[in-house]
Symmetry: C2
Subunit: 246 residues, 2 copies
């Protein structure tokens, strides 16, 4: 059975060696920085990564309940009959104190991972797809550019419609909302000014659109086209499972 002072040595040594630390414990948490928070006693998982990122997770839920960003300094100290993990980020004026009532589990490990994730089905992939398959936007649509960073904003696809009119396409990978329409509106209005033309078309490309967004779209004379983001692996899997059936 480890004593509190053993954990102090273990943790502080592990941090010095840039190991990744995993803790399960009962604790309370106080944070002050961009906001302020307090969390009463409960069982949580604490991770301290090799870049000194700290995450606190409750036993349920997707997101950490508290966290400190990388380059924070951590120090486990004894205070009365409890351990306190003091995390300080002087540069960002953030600090956190985790008062540990009971340590359930402690482990530290040197972890190595230089890999980057490969991801598909994003908004950029949608823009690529529409650029290569312009008929998905509408018959006669001719793409001019894609994912272009202009001073007016990041325009997913820019093109000319069958009537020779300039058209901005804004992609959304899920459901287009009011924000998507105002975003499109900004691009259209700025293009009209910068190009000195009186009409520029606005098109939202997304699987669906909220009713309010649809109404605002119509009010502004823009249009909607239903397009789903591409999923390469899904297609691959279908082929695979078909093959598996043999």
């Amino acid at each position: 059975m480890l004593e509190q002072k053993d954990y102090v040595t273990l943790l502080n040594d592990a941090l010095r060696r840039n190991e990744t630390v995993l803790i399960a414990c009962n604790c309370s948490i106080r944070y002050s920085g961009r906001a302020e928070s307090f969390l009463e006693d409960g069982d949580r998982v604490i991770i301290i990564k090799s870049d000194n990122t700290l995450l606190v997770h409750q036993p349920s839920g997707n997101n950490p309940i508290n966290y400190m960003k990388q380059n924070t300094t951590h120090n486990l100290v004894l205070a009365g009959n409890k351990m306190v993990l003091q995390s300080r980020n002087l540069a960002q004026k953030e600090n956190m104190d985790i008062t540990i009532n009971k340590m359930y589990f402690f482990n530290s490990q040197k972890l190595e991972d230089g890999r980057s994730i490969v991801i598909s089905g994003t908004e950029a992939d949608m823009a690529d797809m529409l650029y290569k398959n312009p008929e998905l936007v509408e018959k006669g649509f001719m793409p001019v550019s894609k994912e272009e960073q202009t001073k007016y904003g990041f325009i997913d696809v820019l093109g000319i419609d069958k009537d020779g009119m300039l058209a901005v396409v804004e992609c959304k990978r899920y459901c287009a909302d009011l924000g998507a329409v105002t975003q499109l509106r900004r691009y259209v209005e700025r293009l009209m000014v910068s190009k000195g033309i009186s009409k520029v078309r606005g098109i939202i490309a997304a699987p669906k659109i909220t009713p309010n967004a649809q109404k605002m779209l119509e009010d502004w004379g823009y249009s909607f086209v239903s397009v789903k983001p591409p999923k390469y692996l899904e297609d691959f899997n279908k082929k695979q499972s078909r093959l598996d059936n043999f």
Copy 2:
């Protein structure tokens, strides 16, 4: 030294008992659902929570590199000379396979935590502050409502200025951007229509504002006031440290 089949028993039993599982391992990950992703071999931390949320963390960075939301079913199986953690969410059509090359360590623990976090310094706290201290918006400002859900949108603070004109205040806790201005514009335009009046003032209250947003604000005849979100605990800490000095 545990064998692969021991881990299979350990993990599947732990899940059955709704324990929180902590794993450090070398693995590769394949995900297919709302998007698609693949991540080559590397060292990672895997957490499976009591609500069957799954998180995969690399040894650095704030966010999980892969995850599955709650109510996912997990099953560790043997495939050739490797273990594969199969995570399936049929309802959401999401699935993930984590191929584990080497298990560094495994722990499972029953964790209990019913506590909710108490947080302050949010946008709602800003709205409260401005409602109670209207002179922070401007001299003669009279608040009418705060954080009101209207059919025109969620308006942070609504009030009447010194000239009797209706004014919408949109709070941002950090830096107001173009989105904040278009959001304000939506509220102002809808209020003008619904109230049948020709002018409604728009005010952004935030610590700062981006140059482009400032320009758009001016173009639309709205105004900006510099306000910081309140930090109650910070005040408390200052008082505490003053007391500590005695």
